[in-house]
């Protein structure tokens, strides 16, 4: 019997997936484990492999469609088998859906995670095209990725390139062309009024005039317009969702880092020798946070639907800036890790994040997030909660500030912690208590040994 293909649910927050591409056409045979389609979730782009073997009988969705998780997006079965013309209604979390998830994550190694910008390059490099198509596009300075192929699997043939060339031919007078080039105007944006739409000088000048007016209206013309897509779009959507649905409250507290600095100084060579990685303040802060979270489990909870889910594990997400957005790899069971293991894990995850090599599993399951802007001249800020978590810690720089210690004014390396929490799940007092404990942990890091 034909088997349904489902949109997998790859994270607890994933509600829809956007189909980026199908690797198979209807009628193609599919092996188990072969990449079947690629989707974009709120976190990642991922190739989903088939967990069935047979003929791809039906594709209900096309590229760029947004599909709800667990919705049936197609069928695999034996040639000639009958399948419904329209997708059956999305099933509840059924057995087979569970399986898909299992498969998808079990095959994690093969799944690549990449940012969108990277994605485009990859696609460009991977365009299916015949040598002739390549030659002609090369000769005409045409990017193959811009051409839709008419051949099997979208292979670009000579005629596709030629069609694109013809379509791209713009009738323009030499003078108009020169003026447009001089002003860096893309002729595609100009409507020609001459014979058969030929672009004439006046058309370019009118365009310039209009552009001038618009830029006057908006004061200054932006240098570039970048469409929100891929990771950027995912980040944008997530942020809006978080800010709009979570009542944020942010508390700040000054922390004297003198002892952490000493601690780091003494442990640095030890850990470096041990792991090859250099201990940074981040790891000490993670450790101290995990310790405080153990004492304040409410801050480690998730708010899912109308339930506050108390998490067993303390998994700390670490916000990492990547080329075109923000990725949050998750360090698992921080409370069970020593500083050496933490250093190693956090450094490795950070590197993977920047190289877009994180596995989905490594981005899942965090219960609390830390965002560290300490390398910039930032003291305090209001971090946005990484739902469904209920709190996030913002870390500022360490800077010498005048403080009064024992009645005397002295300079101390100070750092501001900014804790945003979800007021639906946590009230001010417990949050404040957590932050106070965390501050104490950092001002006396040796207490962590207790």
């Amino acid at each position: 019997m034909a088997k349904e293909i489902f949109m997998p649910k790859l994270s607890s927050t994933m509600e829809v997936g956007t189909l980026l591409q199908w690797f198979k056409e209807e009628g193609d045979s599919v092996e188990m484990g072969e990449p079947l389609f690629e989707i974009m979730t709120d976190k990642i782009n991922i190739e989903v492999e088939s967990y069935e073997e047979g003929i791809l009988l039906k594709k209900y969705f096309k590229v760029d469609d947004e599909v709800e998780v667990n919705a049936c997006i197609g069928y695999i079965g034996e040639a000639g088998e009958k399948v419904p013309d329209n997708p059956p209604a999305a099933s509840e979390e059924s057995e087979s859906v569970e399986n898909v998830q299992e498969e998808a994550s079990a095959e994690g190694q093969e799944q690549t995670v990449s940012t969108d910008s990277d994605q485009e390059e990859n696609k460009d490099g991977k365009v299916r095209a015949t040598p002739a198509a390549r030659r002609i596009s090369r000769e005409n300075d045409l990017s193959l990725s811009a051409i839709s192929g008419s051949g099997p699997n979208g292979r670009v043939h000579q005629q596709d390139v030629e069609a694109a060339l013809v379509a791209g031919v713009i009738a323009v007078t030499p003078l108009a062309e020169k003026i447009a080039a001089d002003h860096g105007i893309d002729l595609n944006q100009i409507t020609g009024t001459g014979a058969r739409g030929k672009i004439e000088k006046q058309d370019v000048l009118s365009y310039l005039e209009k552009a001038d007016e618009i830029s006057k209206e908006t004061e200054s013309e932006p240098a570039e317009r970048i469409k929100l897509k891929g990771l950027r779009k995912a980040v944008a959507d997530k942020m809006v969702q978080s800010v709009q649905s979570i009542p944020h409250v942010t508390l700040t507290s000054d922390v004297d880092m003198t002892n952490v600095i000493d601690l780091r100084k003494s442990l640095l060579p030890v850990i470096e020798k041990d792991t090859g990685y250099r201990l940074s303040f981040t790891e000490v802060i993670i450790k101290a946070t995990a310790n405080a979270l153990m004492k304040h489990p409410k801050l480690n909870a998730s708010l899912i639907g109308d339930e506050i889910v108390m998490n067993n594990e303390v998994n700390i997400g670490l916000a990492v800036a990547v080329d075109n957005g923000l990725i949050v790899p998750s360090i698992k069971n921080v409370n069970q890790k020593g500083l050496a293991a933490l250093t190693q894990t956090s450094k490795e995850l950070g590197k993977k994040a920047r190289e877009n090599k994180l596995k989905p599993d490594e981005m899942r399951g965090s219960t609390f997030t830390i965002s560290n802007l300490g390398m910039y001249a930032i003291d305090a800020f209001t971090p946005i909660i990484n739902g469904p978590e209920t709190a996030i810690l913002g870390v500022g720089r360490i800077v010498e500030k005048p403080v009064v210690v024992d009645g005397e004014l002295t300079a101390r390396p100070m750092m501001v912690l900014s804790l945003s929490f979800d007021h639906r799940a946590i009230d001010g007092a417990p949050a404040a208590a957590f932050l106070t404990d965390l501050k104490a942990n950092l001002e006396n890091p040796y207490s962590l040994l207790v």
């Binding site: 007078t173 030499p174 003078l175 108009a176 020169k178 003026i179 001089d182 004439e200 000088k201 006046q202």
Partner: protein
């Protein structure tokens, strides 16, 4: 009362061309002409002057034959035959217009028409009056020679361009008052016929609206041929003695010319016959119109010499076509790129702006002139006098104007017009291939020189 989509007053190159275009585009059309189809251009202007200029050219060739090794011992002129030929040419062309009107089912009303604001035209055909009504009216009344109020002018016989092409005897001496295009062309005709010609021009140079270099060049050439040139000279009075005496003031001094004939060609004024009932606006003597040729009265258009401006036949025609397009709902925001030809010996042809105009318009102008003295075809045919000049703006090499002076240049100006119309720049002009040997190669040379890539210059 018959009703038309469009009624056109005047059957000159403005009126009849508009009529045919309107009919071709599906409108019902009436054309009202009080005199001769073809208007000034065909009957008293372009065509008669060009016909007689051809006669003059033949005479010049005979005179020049010797230097080509051809001895023409004697020849004589039959003015009557020449005028007859001119009339035949007019007749042939008029017949052509007539049959075109028929072919396009244009209703022709012969008689002067009077137009009112309700767009009703009353035509007086001599025997009766007819009324017609139209959605839109195009006024193409044209123009007539302007005869200034010179003291004594009415006491002496004088010609205008309306009468001189029917002259019966070749005058010995002709004084032409006005050194514009019309005066100069007629000067060349009579100079070739053997008349002693003198031109009196009030401005400091002839054809003052044209490129200065071209005007100076032409003045010199005409002088070399023996045409008398009195510039900055004002006619004070004309007197009838045994001969006609033309009193002038030049450089503050009074002189006088004695002559047996006078041509007054100081300009033209609009024909306003039949327009009195209309509340249209004027600009000076001429009817005022907008870019689409519409007057202030909606649905009433005016074109051609009636609105002043270029005062050229093809300008009248193009303006008429624009008016028809507007009637049909099209708009033409483009500026005219108007070629202008002077059929003197040598000829002057130009298009677009003069150097002075381009500078005044704020362009970074770079003009480049190439003399035809070294032009192969020119030397071979002993027609290597003249120049070709490209007036371009520096940034994009946009061609703003072209001035050609020399033999046959009126036939070559359309190349330049094409370039400007299709917005080619100096680079393309230089890049394009010109056949050799031709006079037109001068244009390539001028473009190449403009780009500092000249071959022979």
């Amino acid at each position: 009362m018959t009703k038309f989509d469009v009624a056109i007053v005047g059957g000159g190159p403005g009126g009849y061309v508009s009529a045919i275009r309107a009919a071709k585009l599906g409108l019902s059309v009436a054309l009202v002409e009080g005199r001769d189809l073809g208007g000034t251009c065909l009957n008293r202007g372009c065509i008669p002057s060009k016909t007689l200029l051809k006669n003059a050219e033949v005479i010049n060739q005979i005179k020049d034959a010797k230097k080509f090794g051809i001895q023409v011992d004697s020849y004589s002129l039959e003015l009557k035959t020449m005028i007859n030929r001119k009339n035949q040419v007019i007749q042939q062309l008029q017949n052509g217009i007539n049959s075109l009107l028929k072919a396009n089912k244009i209703k022709l009303y012969s008689g002067y028409g009077t137009v009112d604001n309700q767009k009703i035209i009353t035509v007086d055909t001599g025997e009766k009056t007819e009324k017609l009504e139209a959605e839109s009216i195009i006024l193409a009344n044209g123009s007539k020679p302007f005869v200034p109020n010179l003291p004594g002018l009415n006491e002496v016989p004088y010609y205008t361009s309306d009468t001189i092409f029917d002259i019966e005897e070749v005058p010995e001496h002709l004084v032409i008052v006005g050194g514009g295009v019309i005066g100069l062309e007629i000067a060349c005709i009579f100079q070739s016929l053997g008349t002693k010609v003198e031109i009196v021009e009030m401005a400091d140079r002839i054809i003052p609206a044209e490129d200065k270099e071209a005007a100076d060049y032409l003045a010199n050439e005409l002088k070399r041929k023996g045409i008398g040139m009195h510039t900055s000279a004002k006619v004070l009075e004309l007197k009838k003695d045994k001969k006609t005496v033309v009193k002038l003031e030049k450089d503050g001094k009074e002189t006088s010319l004695e002559t047996d004939s006078v041509l007054v060609s100081v300009g033209r004024e609009p024909n306003l016959t039949g327009l009195n009932d209309l509340s249209i606006n004027y600009e000076g003597k001429f009817v005022k119109v907008d870019k689409s040729m519409q007057t202030n009265v909606k649905g009433i258009y005016a074109i051609g010499d009636l609105i002043g401006g270029y005062q050229l036949a093809h300008a009248a025609s193009e303006e008429g076509i624009r008016a028809v397009s507007h009637i049909l709902g099209e708009t033409h925001p483009k500026d005219f790129i108007m070629p202008r030809c002077i059929y003197t010996f040598p000829e002057i042809a130009s298009v677009g702006m003069t150097e002075e105009q381009a500078k005044a318009a704020g362009y970074q102008v770079k003009a480049q002139k190439v003399d035809l003295a070294a032009n192969g075809k020119g030397i071979a045919s002993a027609e290597n006098s003249g120049f070709m000049k490209i007036i371009s703006e520096e940034k994009y090499g946009e061609i703003l104007g072209v001035v050609l002076a020399g033999a046959h240049v009126t036939e070559m100006i359309s190349q330049a017009t094409s370039f400007m119309y299709l917005e080619g720049t100096v680079e393309e002009l230089e890049d394009m291939i010109f056949p050799h040997p031709t006079l037109a190669e001068g244009m390539f040379e001028a473009a190449a020189k403009w780009l500092d890539k000249g071959i022979h210059y």
